[in-house]
């Protein structure tokens, strides 16, 4: 999933998380496929960001590749590899990262 500014949204993208207003009320459910009409409605409701499935927007150098992020996780955890709790935490973070790529 990727959080993107609404102005970068395109028809056909699917919501990975529901869009809610400031009071937490759902405006648009998870899985909704974006249409011009839905996007216009979200603009009117002053929604600024939405979370969509996959990673449709390439940010100029802003986003690192998954491989690079994995390398960084391994490097960061170097000192604590042998600790069972830290190993578990690392495992969860690695899973979260790779889950995202399967989606995209």
């Amino acid at each position: 999933m990727q959080k993107i500014p609404l102005k970068k949204a395109k028809t056909g993208m699917k919501l990975a998380r529901p869009v809610t207003n400031e009071r937490g009320m759902t405006l648009c459910g998870e899985g909704t496929e974006l249409t011009e009409a839905i996007m216009a409605r979200l603009v009117r409701m002053e929604v600024e960001h939405i979370t969509v499935k996959g990673r449709p927007i390439k940010t100029a150098g802003g986003h690192k590749s998954v491989e690079q992020q994995l390398d960084e996780i391994h490097a960061r955890f170097k000192r604590v590899e042998s600790d069972p709790l830290m190993k578990k935490i690392k495992g969860i973070l690695v899973n979260l990262l790779t889950e995202g790529t399967e989606e995209g």
Binding site: K3, G24, E72, R76, F77, R79, V80, D83, M86, L96
Partner: protein
């Protein structure tokens, strides 16, 4: 080689008058001591400084998650969060100013990330005052800011040592200064008469079992510091994930299932915090 601790401590004693700490902070501190003070009195004092009010509300709505709606006024913030939290927020806004002024964006992102993380852990471990713990986490590295502003040459040597030796800032500080940002943070808290629930997590976030009276918040801030480093959010100067102290973990009493749920939640909230940072032009 280490610094003269006494002279550094004396310099910190003079910090009450630094221009970056708003006058409002002292006025509020006096008001809070008076049992007759009402929410409106404090709200009036804070609201008289519009820039500060705006900053506080921005921090509230970015670092303290978990409210159904946005907090839109200082009075609202005071009622929901209490005096201590708002006092901590005033302090945070100064820390924010110093960090931004010095170009320490990565450090601010780390602090904000720790605050968000602490809020999630506090809620998952059912600690009754998650906002208080978030504020302590937001301020946990305040000692680093003071070292950077008061001892700029030594701070540079600390940074170089971190890079050349591949050690943590904490270790490099011990080597270069003979004291660490946690001690400096504690002095500052004592100087500003901050409550122990803020002082202990700041002073002991690297050695959480040292806290006698606020064990849980201190353990939460310790774990938050480690977890936010683990996610790679922000830039805490060194890029090393230290170990979570087993006893600190034990007192939080979190199951494995909860750990996974918690990390997922932290990841999502950090994404939101990232938006806040980028929309604020601070990253």
């Amino acid at each position: 080689m280490s610094v003269d601790k006494e002279s550094l401590r004396k310099r910190i004693q003079g910090l009450k008058s630094v221009p970056t700490l708003p006058d409002v902070f002292e006025r509020i501190s006096r008001l809070v001591e008076n049992p007759e003070t009402g929410v409106d009195d404090i709200a009036n004092v804070i609201s008289s400084d519009q820039a500060l009010s705006a900053k506080i509300l921005r921090v509230v709505n970015s670092a303290l998650h978990g409210f159904p709606g946005r907090i839109s006024s200082i009075t609202h913030a005071l009622i929901i969060l209490g005096f201590d939290v708002v006092q901590g927020l005033i302090l945070s806004s100064s820390v924010f100013d110093i960090m931004m002024g010095k170009g320490l964006h990565g450090m601010w992102a780390h602090s904000l990330g720790a605050a968000v993380t602490a809020g999630v852990i506090a809620r998952k471990s059912e600690f009754p005052n998650p906002e208080e713990v978030s504020i302590a986490a937001l301020l946990h590295d305040i000692g680093k800011v003071i070292i950077k502003t008061e001892l700029p040459e030594e701070a540079l040597r600390v940074e170089e040592t971190v890079k050349t030796k591949g050690i943590t800032t904490y270790e490099a500080e011990e080597e270069i200064l003979g004291l660490t940002h946690t001690t400096v943070g504690r002095w500052l808290c004592e100087e500003w008469n901050l409550p122990v629930k803020l002082t202990d997590p700041i002073a002991y976030h690297h050695r959480p079992m040292m806290s006698q009276t606020v064990k849980i918040p201190t353990a939460i801030v310790h774990v938050s510091d480690v977890l936010v480093r683990a996610t790679g959010f922000g830039a805490p100067e060194d890029d090393i994930v230290p170990m979570i102290h087993p006893k600190a973990w034990e007192i939080l009493n979190l199951s494995d299932d909860l750990l996974e749920e918690m990390i997922r939640e932290i990841r999502t909230q950090l994404d939101d915090a990232e938006d806040f940072l980028s929309s604020d032009g601070t990253q």
